[in-house]
Symmetry: none
Subunit: 418 residues, 2 copies
């Protein structure tokens, strides 16, 4: 089954509102194996509503429309849908009575406006709304189904639970969808894509999605069908994808962030990490301390923005600045080693770079970043040339530093003492 | 002029993603008096894209499509749009060359996948993308215009600014809406609301919106009509609202962040600020260094997570921990004064608190935060009890610290030497 969602309301087209109702509906559909293929938002305009209903019903089996069922003149969902299907609107005596009873229970009487809420396209099933005056409506036409539901969140919620959910259960093939996400840091999207090619062939291209954000690629995959087979398939996909990606995968799911994984590796080994940051300005420390319990493996760090702070607090030999510049392999190494010593930590990470917009040169353009990781067995170094603006360079440099710590922890024998 | 927006991407139909790009586009359209009548999201599916393009172009003069221009097999916006308009896709030699140059600048060569990004519907204008490999495209057909823009935010941003904006300016009827935002830190929404009451009466309730987020209230206001009158009204509203809110207003617009304002105040005075952070873990330093040119007034800071680091790097007397606890007024003062001295800065800010989830007690529950600001004329202190989880406590504590620095700078006579 294929579905679409339409949210009606001029306010949903304003510069500061997004349609968030549709997320709950999307979750319901997915659980029952219904493919959501389009979402739309249209203004409170009869023609726009009608046009979208016609367009959507040409492509899907189920269309859920929310909003525009209120009593005011700009609530036009009933009219738009009736027009799209070529149906007349007729007053439903039972609905009008229910509206009257609802008002009476608050000691009021409905206004003439409310009468519009009793209009029903001929042949529609009325879905009683216990939490408001606007009933929901269901229309079945030529094997396709249209649900009209109120936009008020708690009214929508109730009608979804009481009317849409059982309707979906009755039609569910038993085949819902379950998803997982694997996360990869600091690899180009195209490289991850190439690594996954065998899996695309085995499991189908459409079941695996690759999503890139600065410094991270998320591999989302889905399995469909009845619960037991679906779970087994998802497990098989998980194993295969991890096999293809190897230890490029740092974690799974939204909870398992790179900083949380670094923290868990440190905690497992009983190690500590100290940070000396120049261009990232505290971003690495800030990410590490987002992790609850980080005080167990993160004593602290230095944000060494000026050269004198690099010397005073992280022990960088001032001669290095003159000889190599503050943004250099030598200074990155000195920062990492200095902060490791200073904080008595097992690992020290040093980050120096040019985030921009100023400070770049031909030899060292904006985006030049040097990272160093100091450990008992020596100091590793990495040079990066990052694209983008100040924010992006900082974000990617912090991500690269955390990934460098993670790889350092994987490469250093787990039994090795610091 | 009537417009529609289409966001392409299966991931945008998932249960945890909303289409937020469209908000910026909506703001641009609004400013030029273009009516946005529909927004849609469709899956990465050639047929779905084509169907929506056909449906939208039947109803609007301008359709903006974002996303689906990447190099992978599921990027199908080019194909869908070409199909909708009955156009062939042809490889554009200049685009392919530009992609090659871009890869070369990072020392890489494009893969065969990237070749797809050089495909262009015949007759389309190519809109160069300085920040990525996918160019934007513009198609004019029978008086209607279709823009295809990349979905990556900073690429989209640039193409909107350089291509869409001038196109809109050239066609603008002059009757748009203009909005401004004033920003207030660390005040309750209800207090701001009360302060604004006279303005609601003068300018109309619907023209002023109050939006609260953790530690900040945004006051958004709008004026409509032709540019000169609209501008004058907006100016009048701005003056009146600032008059009512006084120096609670720290800035205007999304660019004027609290950290940028603090930086500008420091720069104007030729002062420097150093940070000693415990519970915020580097968040204040990170926010300060987001500001371009921050090296002029921010020498650096210490993330003093463990008590020994508080002592070694910020000079906190270890007896204070035993006498008052690490989260106390005394330790906050010692951090601020210690870091000010240590970095030779004019101002020092010290932050210590319990972000949770662990570490709270009856006397000092999660959310207990002490802030201190050290200056030549003495040290101020503030105690806070913040609601919410770890992330929220950290965010609000950092916001409160920056607001404390701002107020400190306003209160200290501008002529006073440090």
């Amino acid at each position: 089954m294929r579905a679409a969602i339409l949210a009606v309301g001029t306010e949903l087209l304003s510069v500061d509102r997004v349609d968030s109702h549709s997320l709950r509906l999307a979750a319901r559909l997915e659980r029952h194996g219904v493919a959501l293929v389009r979402k739309a938002v249209v203004a409170d305009d009869e023609e726009e509503i009608a046009a979208e209903v016609v367009a959507a019903l040409a492509r899907v089996d189920l269309l859920i429309v929310t909003g525009g069922l209120g009593p005011t003149a700009d609530d036009l969902t009933r009219e738009g849908c009736a027009r799209a299907l070529g149906l007349r609107l007729v007053e439903d005596a039972a609905v009008w009575e229910a509206i009257g009873r609802r008002f009476a229970s608050f000691g009021r009487t409905p206004s003439e406006n409310n009468r519009r809420q009793a209009l029903v396209p001929e042949g529609a099933a009325v879905l009683a709304n216990a939490r408001g005056t606007a009933p929901g409506l269901r229309l079945d036409r030529g094997g396709r189904t249209l649900f009209l539901l109120p936009g008020v969140p708690h009214e929508l919620e109730e009608l979804v639970e009481r009317e849409l959910e059982p309707w979906l259960v009755a039609r569910s093939s038993g085949g819902g969808t379950e998803r997982r996400t694997l996360r990869v840091a600091m690899r180009p999207e195209s490289e991850v894509d190439r690594m996954l090619e065998p899996a695309y062939r085995e499991f189908g291209r459409e079941s695996i999605t690759v999503l890139a954000s600065p410094g991270e690629v998320r591999v989302r995959f889905a399995a469909h069908g009845p619960a037991p087979e679906r779970g087994a398939r998802l497990e098989a996909m998980d194993r295969r994808l991890r096999g293809l990606l190897g230890d490029a995968v740092f974690g799974a799911g939204e909870e398992e962030t790179l900083e949380a994984v670094v923290g868990a590796l440190l905690a497992a080994r009983g190690w500590t990490l100290a940070t000396a940051e120049s261009c990232t300005g505290g971003l690495v420390a800030e990410r590490l301390t987002r992790v609850p319990g980080s005080s167990g493996w993160f004593p602290g760090g230095v944000v060494a923005y000026s050269n004198s702070v690099k010397t005073d607090l992280a022990g960088v030999d001032p001669e290095l600045f003159a000889a190599h510049g503050a943004v250099s392999e030598q200074v990155a190494r000195a920062l990492a080693e200095g902060v490791r010593r200073r904080f008595g930590a097992d690992l020290g990470i040093g980050i120096t770079g040019i985030a921009g917009p100023g400070g770049g040169s031909e030899e060292k353009p904006v985006g030049t970043v040097h990272l160093a990781l100091a450990a008992a067995d020596g100091t590793r170094h990495r040079a990066l040339r990052l694209p983008g603006d100040r924010e992006r360079v900082r974000t990617m440099a912090a991500q690269a530093a955390l990934e460098m710590v993670r790889r350092g922890l994987l490469e250093t024998g787990a039994g090795e003492a610091a």
